[in-house]
């Protein structure tokens, strides 16, 4: 499965495309694209790339556990989703809101 991720322009924070069409920081709320939804995914990706508030746009591979938790496959994406594994720093927050309004 895939999710769509990017960094928000002003804060640089990691964000994901949600079901609602908004972008927010929570991978658990990410819209998931199944293997048979590549066309929809590519269309969403295309649209996201045009959003001036988002940079480093990418589709990433994710899996859903039995309990419903969304997991990024690559360690790089796990670190983006959870913050650095050292130093006790929380992730970057968005300016003023928990999602990017479009």
């Amino acid at each position: 499965m895939n999710a769509i991720t990017a960094n928000e322009l002003i804060s640089g924070a990691v964000v994901y495309l949600y079901e609602t069409g908004e972008f927010g920081v929570d991978l658990q709320k990410a819209k998931l694209f199944g293997a048979d939804e590549q066309d929809v995914r590519d269309a969403s990706l295309e649209k996201t790339l045009k959003n001036p508030r988002l940079v480093s746009v990418e589709a990433i591979a994710v899996e859903v556990s039995e309990t419903g938790t969304v997991w990024a496959n690559r360690l790089r994406e796990q670190i983006r989703a959870n913050g650095p594994t050292v130093g006790g720093f929380a992730r970057q927050t968005l300016e003023g809101a928990d999602h990017v309004s479009l």
Partner: protein, 548 residues
């Protein structure tokens, strides 16, 4: 220390304003990311995994207390209360917000600092020996020439779009503490037959995916001709450097493919044409710049030595500090103090805002207001009177900066790796932490050992030149670490050799233990360091220790 003249000040102010407008235009949507990206990179602003990263230049690693306090203020006000000092003697902030960057740059400009040319295919911050202007073994203080190179290379119109980035390092001492042979151009002070001091020039060194030791292109260039000579090298590189392939674009590849003899001929031909031109440095100008770096007002000292033995039983941590963190000074009664940014289990190179302020206070009170950043990611108080060492140490203890481990296994160079870096394949910082914790009790026993870790083949953590080097790679989605031995960044420049297949993160400390136990078993005496033992023994015993 060099002070901006009107030109420098006006230029930095202008650039800050310009970038401020560019940020506004980006935020308002007038500029696309594609248009904005090169502009932000020219001002040292990267986008990393979690946030932007701002790289601020510390020219040849020299700072005063006012500048250090400003760095602390920026960390506290616009970032998360810390900064990361790097192997290129710069500082990086890991969490600035784009909207705040213009304000940060304004703050920096107010103390004569900036982030220009800390990214991109231009000539980067010139680096030097962290003990420059203080070291006992120095032939000449390299900072005036480093400053002249800074002025020449800043915004040089011909060299703003080189085939690839270009790094210059310079040392005034025969013991190379600036890794000059692993730079695009390395300069080492040299004396000619007449007894004059000039520069030995090396070209084509580098790390990254194809590590190379620089080759000597000239054994002596006098000060007055140094800029035309450097200009000639840059022109040859700019003309012939490979722009067709990013991985082959550094000058090291040009020198390797063309051969140093041909490059030398091309450079000499170019040099002959421009030698007597505008770049020739009049003695008056050199003197003028040198005056900025005048020796501080040292005073005769009665305390000239510290008897370390007396502390060994009563205060072993202090004894360790005295043994490892003091460097011989040219002036009797003074010493250079290394402030380790490598607490056991900490993040190599990180300093908090309050630590930076404490260090600034110490510089002001005890080191003639001078500070240095070392390429080994530590800070240095270059001129401390021997009588003040205990007071300085006590202040370091109060600020958790007292680790007496300079040059030991826990004094690790590590790049940010996958915890921050968008290019990384594997993490570096947790590996460094695990190693320093594992060997905390034994580091004294191992003696001098340079351990360097990179999170990918770009080699920002200098792993190729670690006595032991660790390179993170990604294999089938997991982090693996390749171990190299025998690298050396000094005047005996050597690229380390890979021992064999990679090990997992959990296995790294155990693997190092095997190498170190073997070294302890094989060494001829406690004075034979790891690297000396390696040179005598070669790979074989270490390979066997690691893989059986």
């Amino acid at each position: 220390m060099y002070r901006y003249d009107e030109f420098d000040a006006a230029f930095v102010r202008q650039r800050t304003e310009q970038f401020s407008h560019q940020v506004q235009r980006r935020l308002s949507g007038e500029l696309t990311e594609e248009q904005f990206r090169p502009l932000r990179l020219m001002n040292g602003l990267y986008l990393q995994l979690h946030a932007y990263m701002l790289r601020v230049a510390v020219p040849y690693g020299t700072l005063n207390s006012t500048q250090m306090r400003k760095l602390a203020h920026i960390a506290r006000t616009y970032d998360r209360g810390y900064g990361h000092f790097t192997t290129r003697q710069n500082i990086q902030y890991n969490w600035p917000k784009l909207k705040d960057v213009p304000a940060i740059l304004e703050e920096l400009a107010s103390v004569e600092m900036h982030a220009i040319q800390t990214s991109g295919n231009c000539i980067r911050n010139v680096t030097t020996d962290q003990f420059a202007g203080a070291a006992g073994d120095e032939i000449i203080d390299p900072r005036p020439v480093a400053e002249i190179i800074r002025q020449w290379s800043s915004l040089h119109p011909e060299f703003s779009y080189l085939p690839r980035k270009f790094k210059i390092a310079i040392t005034g001492a025969p013991q190379d503490r600036a890794a000059v042979k692993f730079h695009d151009i390395g300069l080492m002070a040299a004396t000619n037959d007449a007894g004059d001091v000039g520069w030995r020039v090396f070209v084509g060194g580098g790390l990254g995916r194809t590590p190379m030791v620089a080759k000597e292109i000239s054994d002596y260039v006098p000060h007055e001709y140094l800029l035309p000579y450097l200009e000639a090298i840059l022109r040859v590189y700019n003309m012939y450097g490979r722009r067709d392939n990013k991985y082959k674009a550094r000058i090291k590849i040009l020198v390797h493919e063309t051969g140093i003899e041909t490059i030398r001929e091309q450079v000499e031909a170019e040099f002959a044409e421009i030698k007597e031109g505008v770049l020739k440095l009049p003695q008056g100008e050199l003197t003028r710049i040198t005056e900025y770096f005048a020796e501080p007002a040292f005073e005769p000292q009665t305390d000239t030595k510290i008897d370390i033995a007396q502390f060994e039983a009563t205060d072993s941590a202090y004894a360790r500090f005295l043994k490892h963190n003091l460097h011989p000074h040219a002036k009797e009664g003074y010493t250079s103090v290394t402030i380790s940014l490598k607490p056991i289990g900490g993040v190599p190179g990180d300093a908090t805002d309050s630590q930076m302020e404490a260090v600034a206070d110490l510089a002001e009170q005890y080191s003639f207001d001078e500070l240095r950043v070392s390429h080994e990611q530590n800070l240095v108080l270059p001129h401390v009177a021997i009588k003040d060492v205990r007071t300085v140490y006590d202040a370091l203890v109060a600020n958790k900066l007292q680790e007496g481990n300079a040059g030991l296994i826990s004094d690790i160079i590590a790049c940010p790796g996958l915890d921050y870096c968008a290019l990384a394949n594997a993490r570096s910082i947790p590996i460094a932490q695990a190693i320093s914790e594992k060997f905390a009790d034994r580091e004294e026993e191992f003696g001098e050992l340079k351990l360097k870790i990179s999170g990918c083949i770009n080699a920002c953590g200098h792993h190729h030149v670690g006595h032991i080097g660790i390179l993170g790679v990604e294999k089938k989605g997991t982090e693996l670490y390749q171990i190299t031995v025998g690298g050396d960044a000094t005047e005996h420049a050597t690229v380390g050799s890979i021992l064999g297949r990679g090990v997992t993160a959990e296995e790294v400390p155990g693997a190092l233990e095997k190498l170190l136990d073997r070294y302890m078993a094989e060494r001829q005496s406690a004075d034979e360091t790891f690297i000396q033992a390696y040179r005598r023994l070669g790979d074989a015993p270490f390979k066997e220790a690691l893989y059986g």
